[in-house]
């Protein structure tokens, strides 16, 4: 007993054991360092992208950039485009909002209900199928989605439209929302459902009034993530909304969108346009950032548990 204790604590251990202890301590330190470094790199990349985009697009971010739609470039005597000319991207911002709004309108109820189905009712083969399809759909390349909607909607209706874009984005958003909502609702302790059942509350009321509110913050986060993901998509919009130099509020008409505009301007030979593409990129990132920040703040403290 005495011996065992002194062996465990005393400095009188064998050199070999002491060496082993030193190694263990070093390994621990190194691992902790690596983990911290990885985390730091993650944050650094994000800050770097933001900073780089800001530096590159700084000159484009003038008040007119936010308040005007696209204008033709002005050229000087040498045939070079004049800095600050070419209007703004207001039509893209509003267009993005319109398309995302429509897409959210379609996909949030659909994804929410499908997620609720999978989490609360889905036990059989059909649920397995739904879950499987949703997983596959999240992996479909977005350009394929674009082509699909193009051939299905644009071709049949005969014109590009915000609706078509919204539909394409919905195809991307629904499976994301479905699976996130399912996972989040599964995290709600079964004890809460049972408590509700035991009070004589039917299942659907239990889901709507107990399960969903308990998971509200997670569900909203999932939706925001889906919206953010869709907000940055370019490929499906390319083939569905086409783009529009002017502000458009009619969902049946071709509409502009930020990613689309970025893509368009970035491929132009003029430095002014490329600068505007950077500026638009910055706006896109900021919109998503602010959006997720706002939902974070709004749902703060409403956690399960």
């Amino acid at each position: 007993m005495e011996q065992a204790r002194s062996r465990a604590l005393d400095a009188g251990v064998s050199p070999r054991e002491r060496a082993r202890f030193a190694v263990r301590r070093t390994v621990n330190l190194v691992m902790a360092g690596l983990v911290g470094l990885a985390a730091l790199i993650g944050v650094a990349v994000m800050l770097f992208i933001l900073g780089y985009v800001l530096v590159q697009g700084w000159q484009a971010l003038s008040p007119t950039f936010f308040s005007q739609s696209a204008q033709p470039l002005d050229f000087d005597a040498k045939g070079q485009p004049i800095a600050g000319s070419g209007g703004g991207v207001l039509m893209s911002i509003l267009g993005s909002l319109l398309i995302l709004g429509l897409a959210a309108l379609i996909s949030i109820p659909l994804g929410l209900l499908a997620g609720m189905y999978l989490s609360e009712y889905g036990h059989g083969k059909f649920a397995f199928l739904v879950r499987y399809v949703a997983d596959v759909m999240t992996g479909i390349p977005s350009i394929v989605t674009g082509v699909f909607v193009w051939s299905l909607v644009v071709i049949t209706t005969g014109h590009f439209s915000a609706w078509a874009g919204a539909l394409a984005l919905s195809i991307i958003m629904v499976p994301i929302i479905t699976r996130t909502v399912e996972e989040i609702l599964r995290l709600v302790p079964n004890a809460l459902r049972e408590a509700s059942y035991a009070l004589g509350v039917p299942q659907w009321r239990t889901i709507v009034k107990v399960v969903l509110p308990s998971a509200a913050s997670g569900v909203i986060t999932g939706i925001v993530l889906a919206v953010a993901r869709a907000g940055g998509e370019t490929a499906p919009l390319l083939l569905t909304v086409l783009g529009n130099e002017a502000i458009n509020w009619n969902p049946s008409q071709p509409t502009d969108a930020l990613p689309l505009r970025i893509y368009d301007y970035a491929t132009q030979p003029y430095a002014v346009r490329i600068e505007q593409a950077w500026g638009a990129s910055f706006i896109l990132i900021m919109v998503i950032l602010v959006f997720s920040l706002l939902t974070r703040i709004a749902t703060k403290g409403k956690k399960v548990g």
Binding site: A191, Y197, A198, L199, V201, T206, K302
Partner: protein, 282 residues
Amino acid sequence: MDNTQIKEAPQDASAEGYNTPVATGGKSMEIRNLKAYYGSYLAISDVNMEIQPNKVTALIGPSGCGKSTLIRCLNRMHEVTPGAPRVEGEVLLDGQNIYAPSADPVKVRRLIGMVFQKPNPFPTMSISENVLAGIKLNSGRLNHAQAAEIVEQSLHRAALWDEVKDKLGKSGASLSGGQQQRLCIARTIAVNPEVILMDEPCSALDPIATLKIEELIEELKAQYTIIIVTHNMQQASRASDFTAFMLAQDGPGHLVEFGPTQQIFTRPTQKRTEDYITGRFG
């Protein structure tokens, strides 16, 4: 606790069929040839028991003997358990079979309330909202005065009122474990059940909180029939009037011995009961 005051409370507060909790008196239950399955697995077999009204009946037995399954069969909670649950046999509440094809499980659960092992107040609701949950979640409409009355009386009966009366708006999660469990009891009482089932209600509580719950059970049995699952032999011997010993040796869980608690704990008739309660099981 001033129980008499609660009993004499005005009863005109009914709205949409919801009354303030009044002493309706517990009802008897009878279990006939009950079998419970998970898929094809027979968890409990051929349980027959008569549960006396306004008495506390304790279910004891080693882990996995099916006592929790049995208690969950008594208010049709077994069928919302994962794992393809199924029940055969009859459970009569005051002579009526709760497994009759016409019996609505949702209604059954309003008559036979349940308190769980882990206190589970609704985390998104305040203390008073928790008490009213059974009514509100069923879209029962209450005016402010009625709601306040139900909250106060239910909390009184659950021996929690004095501790929480100044913070009814706070989250139920802010209470201690024992208080949370009494809140859950208040929540159950608020829907006016006739029987209260308790599935190891004290297993997550410290000894003092446990004793408070036991005292509460003693008081509640004047108005409700109580069935309690417990791992704590002392609790069963202290808090119950009848004790049922279940075992799942070499087969599905079944009733080994059922009788007055006093007899079970001083002179059980079955060797296996004796071995279990004297701690010489297995």
